[in-house]
């Protein structure tokens, strides 16, 4: 499909914010993100004939962005992957981890609305860190779905995977994200709160300390 130069330029400019945003999330580095977007735009211009229709431009250029990131990652070789477990075969407890369920364990004593308090105390930096710690395959689906508001069909087209895989990967990715957030909250004071070792905003603000009131030992 031959689209005009004007169309290409207008679309690139219109999508530049989202392209840079996704690139930042993938690379976790502003300079690398700029290089990735520039390389993506260059590759897209050269591959313009592969664009099937104007309506497909968004999925098409984000697919190029993702593929460029993966190929650069492979080329770099030595760069470590930011993952702590195997994406395709996560441990069973990671596959459906839920902060909400953790907070509603029957042996925990809560007052008020703990999940709302947890959300209220959750900072941007906490989410940034948890998102960056996800494997790339998980991070990209969360970024496309939740930050860039892609529909499942668009994510499937962008990543070249079946829509059912988008569903299951997003489910696992969100579970993994919650596990990272929960572990961070716990590290910030969940286990230490019982002994009065207030370490962080979480414990200091009562998000994770109340459940241990009257308890002398660690919960986990």
């Amino acid at each position: 499909m031959a689209v005009s130069r004007q169309f290409f330029e207008a679309q690139v400019i219109a999508l530049l914010g989202p392209l840079q945003g996704v690139a930042r999330r993938l690379t976790c580095n502003d300079d690398d993100a700029e290089d990735l977007v520039a390389e993506t735009v260059t590759r897209a211009w050269r591959a313009l004939d592969s664009l099937e229709c104007e309506e497909a431009f968004k999925s098409w250029i984000f697919r190029i962005l993702n593929n460029t990131f993966i190929s650069e990652l492979r080329r770099a070789g030595a760069r470590p992957r930011l993952e702590s477990f195997d994406c395709d075969d996560p441990a069973e407890e990671d596959a459906d981890f839920s902060i909400f369920e953790q907070m509603h364990q029957p042996f925990l004593l809560w007052f008020g609305n703990p999940e709302q308090e947890f959300l209220n105390k959750l900072l941007r930096e906490d989410l940034d860190r948890a998102l960056a710690a996800l494997p790339e395959e998980y991070r990209i689906v969360v970024v496309l779905s939740d930050l860039e508001e892609f529909k499942y069909g668009e994510i499937a087209e962008t990543l070249g995977i079946p829509i059912g895989t988008v569903r299951s990967r997003l489910f696992r990715a969100r579970s993994a994200l919650q596990k990272k957030l929960w572990e961070h909250a716990r590290d910030c004071g969940l286990s230490g709160a019982a002994a009065g070792r207030t370490k962080s905003k979480f414990a200091a603000n009562g998000v994770v300390s109340r459940q241990n009131e009257g308890d002398s030992g660690e919960k986990r």
Binding site: L16, L19, A38, L147, R167
Partner: protein, 78 residues
């Protein structure tokens, strides 16, 4: 035809698709009926929805001036 009912297990399986507005109309309505009747699943859905909103707020709205200039120069060179 009676309205289809779902249980908690089914509701939890499709909670993200509900939040993402990715369920078919009949499934979305069945989910809404369940959430209306089940306080526990409703609370879970609300938590997931609010957490998603928090993640949404991480979005970078616009490209940096440096990025914009670089891409404009690049486009001029094509």
């Amino acid at each position: 035809m009676t309205d289809r009912q779902i249980d908690c297990e089914q509701a939890l399986k499709q909670i993200f698709e509900f939040i993402d507005h990715e369920l078919r109309d009949a499934d979305h309505e069945a989910m809404q009926r369940h959430l209306h009747a089940c306080k526990s699943c409703f609370s879970r859905m609300e938590f997931e929805r609010l957490l998603k909103e928090k993640v949404c707020e991480l979005r970078d709205e616009s490209a940096s001036p440096h990025m914009s200039q670089r891409i404009k120069r690049l486009l001029q060179g094509f």
